[in-house]
Structures are given as structure tokens and as C-alpha cells.
Amino acid sequence: MMLDSILFYFFAVLAVGSAILMVTRRNAVHSAVFLISTLLATAGIFLQLQAEFLFVVQIILYVGGIMVLFVFVIMLVNLDVAVRQMKFNRQSWVAGLLALVLGGLAIVVFRSGGGAFNLMASPVTTMPPNAEQVGTVLFQKYFLPFEIASILLLVAMIGAVVMAKRKI
């Protein structure tokens, strides 16, 4: 019990902290590294929720795949373009206002929601090994969405290849 909350607080603080740093960094590579630490922190939270298959998928796909793409593009693009330009545009007060409205709205909803939300997560019987369970449900109940997702990836691949060709 004790360990759960320690772990949760550690990962939560790490996630929020590096998220803030990511948004405020001037150098794109630094913000990429902080985004990686946010993703690893969320992976830790997945682990804390006993979803170790998602923990591994998050690391392999997100951090090992997508973020490598990001770091590649940042390096390709930022080689000689001056990075030190002004990083915040004039819309900052719009964002601040929107964030406040959004945050206030969410908190009001949570407060009014009453018992529905903050019920103690019932410690359901320890779930069977996560990977097999995800596998079976994914390929039986959600087979159609699985196929649609693969088509989506195919389309994305073709799009990326066409975009990257030098002489289209």
C-alpha cells in the first residue's frame, strides 16, 4: 500500500515537472529529452497500475519509436537554423485564459461529480498476466478496430514516404 503512493507521487511529480520543462525549453533537443522523461514517467504510472504490457508498449512504441523520429527531425532541421529566436508568440495570454477556464471547468465537474469519481479503486482480484489478457481481448472483441488501426498506419507510412521524397 505504502509503496503504491510513493511510486505514484514520484512518477506524477516527474511527469508534470518534465512536462513544464519541455514546454519552456529554448533548445528543441532539450525539450525532446524532457518529453522523453515525461513519457517514461507515464510508463511508470502504467506499471504502477499493474498494466505492464502497456508499460512495455509505451516504451517500445512511444519512446523507442516516435521520439527517435522527433529527435531525428530536430537534428536534421536545426543544424544551422538559428535556434535562439523568440520562442513565445503573442498568443500567450490567450493560452493562459483558456487554461484557466479549462482547469476551473474540470475541477467544478469533479467536485459536483460527488461520489462517482473519487470512489476508492476497488482492489479487484489480481488480474491475470496482463499481456495474455490484452492479447486475447484485443484479437477477439476488438478485431475490427485492430484492422482499421493497421490500415491507418499503412496510410500514414505512405504519406510519410511521399512527403519525404526529394523530387515529388
Partner: protein
């Protein structure tokens, strides 16, 4: 990158990848340029759009020095040009001066000269194979090749006291009689060298990665080869059957039977096959020569002070790198008026741009290796 394309002479090191040309400098301080050669490559992405070899870092003005030295005094300088194949340099120079004098080395001297030159050709090709394979990434052939080369250098050392810049020959013949046991050692080397070459071949010839890195790389067609006056293995690999040992036999080559290996497409793999075959042929020549070394004098009677009659002579031999020619003009004094050397490495290097154009940057190293240049000879 302002839109107006300014091609200023200063190197534009635009570092944005994938954009247009980048100027890339390789050398003169570079692990795989076989000495102090600087190659300036204009890259279009990964491919070489144009290239230019900048040489002269090792220029010592050997030909100018010759005008202030007597014929015998200049002989050791000749070894310092192609320091990897010093013996054949010496042979070329001595025979040219003998032609000038109208003298002729005695038969025994000519046969011993042939044996030593062929051993030097094997040693030079071994250096080429070792460094060429190392550039392409195969670490082991280098050590096998240098182990065999060590045997040859031992023979040179026993005969004339030096391993690399040997000054083995004198104008008119030989200074030293062959040490006893010369024939046995040379014969033992030739005998076990046969299966050594097969050892190298097992490592490289059918190796898929070696094929991938050498087949179709640095292609030089026969017309281009002839147009660029390329000579030696590079010419023969392009399909032109031209070897001075057969065309204008010198020393004792007329007496021996040997074939001239010829390639087909003139790519790096053909040059590799041609040189490996040449090593086998050189071994056969040595064996035939060792059988009957004629007895008799080793030095022609041409006297101490050499005063060749005024006139000029051009004498070319088949050095390991190609046709090594000496054009000597004498004005009747003891010192040559002019000594012009036709360096095979320098002329073969001009074919580099034709071969490197359109190839990948990674192949530039393989192409430099396959032309087999020695910067001492390129810059003189």
C-alpha cells in the same frame, strides 16, 4: 542560403543535410589516402558530383637534383620515389643508363635482376592487397600479406643489406655476388607462396560483402583507360592486353613463359583479380629463373667514371604500378643534363575523377586503394 546562388571560391560548408552540394575535404591527413594526398569532393547528397586530387605535399624535386649528381650518385635517389617497389625503380634507371652507354649487363646479372624485380612486384602487390582490404574493412588480410612480405624483405636484406630502399643494382650489372643459399631461400618462398595466395583468396574472393563493395565500383572503360594513358594492372583490368615485359622485353624476361591476366569490366573487383593473378605469374617467373641462373661475370666492363656520349634515351619497364619510364638526356659530361621519370602512380591517379564521379562517398576510399598509388612517386 540566399536565393542568388553565389559560387564564391571559398568553401561553402552548408551543413543542411539533403540540400544541395557540400564540399568535403579528405586528407592530406587521412587514414586511407595512402600517404599525403588531399581529395576535394563535391557531393550531391551521398554521391560524388566531382572530385579533384590535390598533390605535391611530398614533392622533393628529385629530377632537379639529378642534374647536379653523377649517374652513379643519382641511383639511390631513384629508390626513394616509389618506396614500396624500390628494386624495380633501380632496374629501370640502370637499364636506361646502360642503353645510353650502349653497354649490356652480363646474362647472370640480368637473370638475378629479374628474380629480384619479380620478388619486389609480389611484395608491392602484397602491400596493396593489405591496405586495400583494410580500407574496405577486412582486418585480417593485412597481417597475412605482411607476413609473406617479411620473407621477401629478408632475402633483400641478405643480398644488399637494406629492406625498403635497397639500391640493389649498379649501372652495368650487380655489385654483389648472390649470397650462398639465395636460390634455396627464393625457391622456398616461391614454393609455399602458392598456397598463401589461396589463403587470401578464400578470405576475400567469394566473400559476398567484398563482392558488394568492389563489383561495379570505380568502373574505367578501355577507351577511357587508353585516353588517360593509364598503365599497369589498372589498364589490364579494363581489358587492354598491354604489358611491357611482353611488348618490349628487358632484363631476362624474353626467356620465360608467363601469361598476362586481363580483366573485363575494369571495376575494382577486376583490378583485384588481375593483381592476384599477376602475383601468381611472378611466382612462376621466379621459379623458372631460379632453375638456371647462368654463371659468369656480374658486371659489364664500363669503367669507373661514366661519360655517356651526348644524346637521349627513353627506357620503360613494367613496374608493379604500371609503365615506369626514364627519359635521360646526356650532354657528354659525367652528370645527366636532364632525367625525366614517367611515374605510373601519378598518371593512374588522373583516372580517379573518372572513376569516382557518380559513386558513393564510401567508395572513394575503395577507389583510391584500387588505383594503388604511392605518393612518393606521384609527387617525386
Amino acid at each position: 542560403m540566399d536565393p542568388t546562388r553565389h559560387n564564391s571560391t571559398t568553401e561553402i560548408e552548408t551543413t543542411v543535410l539533403g540540400a544541395d552540394e557540400i564540399i568535403l575535404n579528405m586528407g592530406p591527413q587521412h587514414p586511407s589516402t595512402h600517404g599525403v594526398l588531399r581529395v576535394k569532393l563535391k557531393l550531391d547528397g551521398e554521391r560524388v558530383a566531382a572530385s579533384e586530387c590535390i598533390i605535391g605535399y611530398l614533392h622533393r624535386g628529385v629530377e632537379k637534383i639529378a642534374e647536379h649528381r653523377s649517374y652513379q650518385q643519382f641511383a639511390p635517389y631513384v629508390d626513394r620515389m616509389d618506396y614500396v617497389a624500390a628494386v624495380s625503380n633501380g632496374l629501370g634507371y640502370c637499364e636506361a643508363v646502360e642503353k645510353l652507354l650502349g653497354a649490356e649487363a652480363p646474362p647472370r646479372a640480368r637473370v638475378v635482376r629479374t628474380i629480384l624485380t619479380e620478388l619486389q612486384r609480389i611484395a608491392s602487390h602484397l602491400v596493396w592487397l593489405g591496405t586495400h582490404a583494410l580500407d574496405i574493412g577486412a582486418l585480417t588480410p593485412l597481417f597475412y600479406c605482411f607476413r609473406e612480405r617479411e620473407e621477401i624483405l629478408k632475402i633483400f636484406e641478405k643480398y644488399c643489406g637494406a629492406r625498403l630502399t635497397t639500391h640493389a643494382f649498379r649501372i652495368g650489372g650487380l655489385q654483389y655476388e648472390t649470397y650462398d643459399g639465395f636460390e634455396e631461400e627464393a625457391k622456398r618462398f616461391c614454393d609455399d607462396f602458392a598456397h598463401r595466395i589461396d589463403e587470401y583468396e578464400t578470405l576475400l574472393t567469394e566473400n559476398r560483402i567484398w563482392l558488394g563493395r568492389t563489383k561495379g565500383v570505380g568502373i574505367l572503360s578501355a577507351e577511357d583507360a587508353i585516353a588517360l594513358a593509364v598503365s599497369g594492372p589498372v589498364l589490364r583490368a579494363s581489358g587492354v592486353k598491354w604489358d611491357i615485359r611482353k611488348a618490349a622485353p628487358y632484363a631476362a624476361y624474353a626467356q620465360y613463359k608467363f601469361e598476362i591476366p586481363v580483366g573485363k569490366t575494369g571495376d575494382t573487383y577486376d583490378r583485384y583479380i588481375v593483381r592476384m593473378e599477376e602475383m601468381r605469374q611472378s611466382r612462376l617467373i621466379c621459379l623458372q629463373a631460379i632453375e638456371n641462373i647462368p654463371t659468369g661475370a656480374i658486371m659489364a666492363r664500363i669503367g669507373k667514371v661514366l661519360k655517356p656520349p651526348p644524346g637521349e634515351v627513353y627506357h620503360a619497364i613494367e613496374a608493379p604500378k604500371g609503365e615506369l619510364g626514364y627519359y635521360i638526356v646526356s650532354d657528354g659530361t659525367t652528370q645527366p643534363y636532364r632525367v625525366r621519370v614517367r611515374p605510373p602512380s601519378f598518371i593512374n591517379l588522373q583516372a580517379f575523377d573518372k572513376m569516382a564521379r557518380g559513386s558513393l562517398v564510401a567508395d572513394v576510399v575503395a577507389i583510391i586503394g584500387t588505383i594503388d598509388i604511392v605518393l612518393g612517386e606521384v609527387d617525386r
